[in-house]
């Protein structure tokens, strides 16, 4: 075991942790926006998967990774639009619609992939990274943390941006009010429906970009069902973060490490069945929930549709 943690191994592990953590970070931050505004977005798994599919397709056809991310955002937002129409405007059950969207996205992407690529899984060209000047030269950590695709840095910056947005802007206050006391927001002259719709669309776009990153950068290809619960982990991250974006960042990092261990231990040739290692992130969620359950927090109006004038 001691020989396992060589410098190369540690670098590869941390590098993998960042790659695995970014989709979770984007999903978690996205979910946080929805939940702040009072929409429990169970459909985020479907948004992520659909974003992975559209993101991969656009990148594959256009050859541009950035267009791919744009496509992922579009795909995720498209699913989110359905969620917004059904759950925000029509006030339908958020859990039923969320499951429906996830199942529908699973079926649809598998079908579309089958008819486009049959049983082949074409790969994208390997993507170019952007080593940050100076700090990427640090031994071990530099290569692991500061030599990634630019989207990684943007995603981390997004967490800090959201801290500012939630605390210092009217947008943040409006979001919070839409989740805590929607009627008060309405009385203040801000449209609850529009606020919540924007929040859901933002969630979809971020989850979609997360999915696209998973497909285009993480795997380099699209596989049906490839998100495999990443969206649900995003929900847990948002739930435990109690509205604090930086906690999502911390949580995503921890999960990234445990996901990266999955691959790293296999590469290192340890004779553990893949199933055990694949259970790690989910086991971690449960352990964290058992230990910190009393600290998780959700807005009071979460999951409740807002109907104007109804008490």
């Amino acid at each position: 075991m001691a020989g396992l943690f060589t410098i190369d191994f540690t670098t590869a592990l941390l590098f993998g942790a960042v790659t695995a953590g970014i989709p979770l970070l984007l999903a978690g931050l996205g979910e946080q926006i929805s939940e702040k505004a009072g929409v429990l977005n169970i459909g985020i798994e479907g948004m992520m998967l659909f974003g992975a599919y559209t993101g991969f397709l656009v990148a594959f056809k256009s050859g541009s990774i950035w267009l791919g991310f744009l496509g992922g955002a579009g795909g995720g937002a498209a699913v989110a639009l359905l969620m917004a129409i059904f759950c925000v405007w029509l006030g339908m059950n958020q859990i039923v619609i969320g499951i429906a969207l996830t199942l529908g996205a699973e079926g649809l992407t598998a079908l579309l992939h089958h008819f486009q690529f049959s049983r082949t899984y074409p790969r994208l060209d390997s993507i170019e990274t952007l080593p940050l000047p100076l700090i990427s030269e640090i031994p071990v950590l530099g290569r692991a943390l500061f030599d990634h695709h630019p989207l990684v840095y943007l995603a981390v910056l997004l967490a800090f941006f959201l801290v500012w947005l939630f605390r210092r802007t009217y947008i943040g206050l409006n979001l919070q009010a839409a989740g805590d006391k929607p009627a008060a927001l309405d009385a203040a002259g801000v449209d609850v429906y529009v606020t919540r719709t924007c929040a859901v669309l933002a969630t979809g776009a971020l989850a979609g970009i997360g999915g696209a990153y998973l497909a285009n950068v993480g795997a380099g290809l699209f596989l049906p069902f490839m998100t495999n619960g990443a969206g649900f982990i995003g929900i847990v991250l948002a739930m435990l973060a109690r509205g604090q974006p930086l906690w999502v960042l911390l949580g995503a990092t921890l999960f990234g490490v445990s996901l990266a261990l999955t691959t790293a231990l296999q590469v290192a040739g340890l004779n553990i069945p893949t199933d055990v290692v694949q259970m790690l992130p989910f086991a971690m969620v449960m352990v964290v929930l058992v230990l910190f359950a009393r600290h998780s927090y959700l807005p009071p109006a979460l999951g409740l549709p807002y109907v104007r004038g109804e008490r």
Partner: protein
Amino acid sequence: MTAQAASALQDEAPKPAVHAGLATAVRVLIPIVLALLVGAVVIFALGKDPLTYYGYVMRRGLLSPTGVQATITRMAPLLMISAGLIVAFRAGIWNLGVDGQFLLAAVVTAALAPALIDVVPGWLMILICLVVATLVGAAWSVVPAFLKARYGVNEIITTLMMTFLGIGLANVLVKIPFNDPTTTVPQTATLAVEDRLPRLFDTTIHSGVLIAIAAVLLVHLMMTRTAFGLKLQIVGANPRAAVHAGLNVSRLTFATFALSAGLVGLGGAIEVLGVWGTVRADWNPAFGLLVVPLVFLARFHGVAVIGFVLFFAVLMIGGESASRRLGVPTDFVLLLVGLLMVFLALVEYLDHRRRQATQA
């Protein structure tokens, strides 16, 4: 009697029963028809003929003798899961961890049955397996139940996480401790056909189907006709009111989880003892989320759900055959279920709106 209650009674009274029955039929049929229609559009867009597809589904799923037996056999696990979900949903608990509970119970059964058959008589082996599987299913819901009862942690998330864990654990169990070294693919030792659940008459349908039908009916009676069921429904309708009414909500929460997951676990045992006799590594039928919309279509009604499960079993068995023949992946069924749920919710919404409009 308050004025409101009186008017509600008057609302009910003049309505002929035929009219109400018709309304229910329409409410149920519209989402199904719409989902099938949109599904047809998707098949058409993919360059296949939807009529041929649905034709194959009907021919295999309902009209051929072997097909209809496969369909009825498939109903057993779906009904057991429905029974489990009805208990949970009526008590206001979202048990979405069905797949993990089902699979773990199935794997434990598959390991236990061949080992026991040399020691005890067949009927006792089956009885022990059914009991143990029920306990395994229930055990897998203890952590979500605790988190829900003690800290109010959302059970959707915890049960989903437990399902991912359960699937992984089931695979590990099949691959290492329960693995039958004589087979090339990792799988548990196989229970001989004559030791499995007895078949009904000269068909391939096993008697577990009867257990499943009985279970779903008993659950319905329990939830609607007993004090215990009523207590669960009160907790489901309004947990705060339940506390004020002096009910021990946390104990009832545990009971709901255990009962729901236990029924699901029993379903896993029946599927193994009745159909497969073994569990292969990476086997996961993933029935869980597929049954959810059926239970909603039936409005948590134990008798009505049997009809929907039959419909869905036809779609599954027929869909497998139609998929092979037409080259449409079976994942198409997932899309249909998603569409079904959306249209179902939409019809419920419109119905709700219409009733509000007539009241106002």
